[in-house]
Subunit: 387 residues, 2 copies
């Protein structure tokens, strides 16, 4: 069996984890790159097989190209990576508890996770009216481009992206169901994943509902809970839980994984918010969708919390101004910077990762699993920083 | 075992089927009503169980009420009915080929079909910008109503409905996966259903793409194919195929079901179009979404086909006028009426139902199955007429 991680590389570990007594290095860059390639190849294969099965009509040819291109855009592939690496960790650590699925089967589960993620991105981008995703147009904008001469092309692009998102959701689950897994595992993984998808949906709903409320009316705890539902469940908990179940892990182990995932997912989302804010400081060319849509991020809420009465009023005005102008956007940025919320959230994020790391020491995990899960957290941390 | 159908009732059969040598009456009104009640009760139970599992936050309370209310609105429940009645037919006809699932399991499969249907309605209504569904506001309009004082309530309602549709899709499949079915059946039914959902998605995509094209550029055959993908697969073929598979039917039987479903589904959709048009003649209060959105229905396309040059030009103008006015709408109606397309489509629909009926005589079906499937077609026909 190949080794999961590269050689020990103490320098790459962040300072707050360096005190850990036994340290396993996170997966090497080379290993990650190799796995990403494998995931991309499986994804391309699956999309190709589906094309033959479904696309008998010329009207769909360009549509399918747009869809497949969108799915295949280079991405972090965080969810499939966490699943594949997590499965190796649990499989080695738990020994012979469960039948080992084939490499091909594991690759298909990974593909289904990435398809699900893409489905979520497609609908999210419609909701947030985002223009770009991974550096190129969002799916609804790309599809809109196909109707250049049609008056209502904007609506046609959005509508097509809604149904293409639905198709991706269906394909993701079909891919999982068709995977040849040991007895009863298909249904268990499917149920786990669908449970996550329901949570994600309610998390997105909370996000939308919060965006209709004044920033002073949304509690920090509500935003944290929303992040947990919207991101943590399907990004971190789901992939690791599926990996553990496949390797024979029981309900107690799933609970331990939940305790690791919760702070890690919140930290991951905070890191994303901070990254978005930093990017936004660099260039004004693109107003972040969060601000455009009045999204209640932890950063915005915390800034509000830390400002004085007058500045609070100004920040509220920026959020409730409807369509943001250059003036309101730059004022909001200035107020957030002034509040010191970035520093506080950075410290909070470090603390959350450390908390997550501590949860990997659950005594029910064999020692190797404890150590290697700790190293996997570095992958999550690195992924958040590298959007 | 209870009898599937009520007593023979020759009068209720339409004339084009009356020549059949052996005639079995369709399920009685009482039987249908009883099954519908059973489906509604299972649906309510499932929604209640999910509420407890997912809704730990007050912010979701009203959202869930809106969602559950929408799902529970009285409807035809055609898909679960076809599945439940179809399963009885196949189970009795095929005898001991497969293990019999429990009543509770069958009810859960039926619930998942209705949840899927509701998910499709929710996204369809957003796409078509429909105001009402089953006599009350569509989900996006109902949700919008919760944000009366919010400036962008229209967008908030639509966005919430997109994610609530996604949640329904996830719940539908979770419901199916959690159902205790004989060995391997869960994955088979799930795969069948997800295949249908992909077809539905591409059918909706075709509908949107056609709506961006001039009526003269969309072939009748393209519209028929779009109807087949969009409606037939998940409405008729899917429920019957799932019923047959559960009762031990093999691939050849599924192909025969496909041959029955194809003309029946097209006829069902034509009947819906005709019904929509008739309703629209009665009252001008509500412009049908199809016309509003430039949808290329068979009725519109056939009318175009049958009109002279001048009238064709007028009809094209009505469709391409952008936001329809009272004038363009009443002109379009006048032209469609004048074309005689309604009569031609009515005859086509009768022919399609007869064709579907003929396919029930596939020799691979036991005689009882042939007869009872023929009777089930009456249910489909009745459902289309009673929207």
């Amino acid at each position: 069996m190949s080794r999961v991680y590269g050689s020990l590389n103490q320098a790459s570990l962040s300072s707050d984890l360096a005190h850990a007594s036994t340290v396993v290095a996170p997966p090497s860059e080379g290993e990650i790159a190799r796995l990403r390639q494998q995931i991309d190849a499986s994804l391309a294969d699956y999309l190709e097989a589906q094309r033959a099965a479904y696309l008998r009509l010329p009207v769909f040819a360009t549509l399918y190209v747009d869809l497949a291109d969108f799915v295949r855009r280079p991405g972090k592939r965080l969810r499939p990576l966490l699943f594949l690496l997590g499965h190796r960790v649990f499989q080695r650590g738990l020994g012979e508890r469960a039948a080992v699925p084939s490499e091909a089967a594991l690759a298909k589960v990974a593909v289904s996770l990435e398809l699900l993620h893409t489905f979520i991105l497609v609908h999210d981008d419609i909701i947030d009216r985002s223009e770009t995703r991974r550096g190129t147009p969002t799916l609804h904008r790309a599809l809109e481009g196909r109707f250049a001469s049609f008056t209502h092309r904007h609506r046609a692009g959005r509508n097509l992206a809604i149904v293409m998102g639905d198709v991706l959701f269906a394909l993701a689950q079909k891919c999982l169901l068709e995977t040849v897994l040991p007895e009863g595992m298909g249904a268990r993984l499917g149920t786990l994943l669908l449970g996550c998808m329901v949570e994600t949906g309610f998390g997105e709903a909370a996000d939308i509902i919060h965006s209709t409320r004044d920033v002073s009316k949304v509690e920090l705890s509500e935003i944290e809970h929303m992040y947990c539902l919207k991101t943590t469940c399907y990004t971190i908990e789901g992939p690791l839980a599926m990996a553990a179940v496949l390797a024979g892990g029981g309900d107690e182990m799933l609970e331990a994984i939940g305790r690791i995932a919760k702070p890690a997912g919140l930290a991951f989302q905070i890191q994303n918010d901070l990254h978005e804010f930093a990017r936004f400081e660099v260039s004004d060319a693109e107003v972040p969708a969060d601000i455009l849509e009045g999204k209640k991020t932890l950063l915005a809420r915390l800034a509000f919390e830390r400002l004085n009465e007058i500045d609070r009023g100004l920040l509220q005005m920026c959020f409730s101004a409807g369509t943001p102008t250059e003036g309101t956007v730059s004022k909001a940025r200035e107020l957030v910077t002034k509040s010191g919320a970035v520093g506080e959230l950075t410290r909070k994020m470090d603390k959350l990762f450390a908390q997550s790391y501590a949860e990997t020491r659950w005594p029910g995990f064999p020692a190797s699993v404890q150590e290697e899960l700790g190293a996997l957290l570095q992958l999550i941390r690195g992924a958040a920083a590298r959007v």
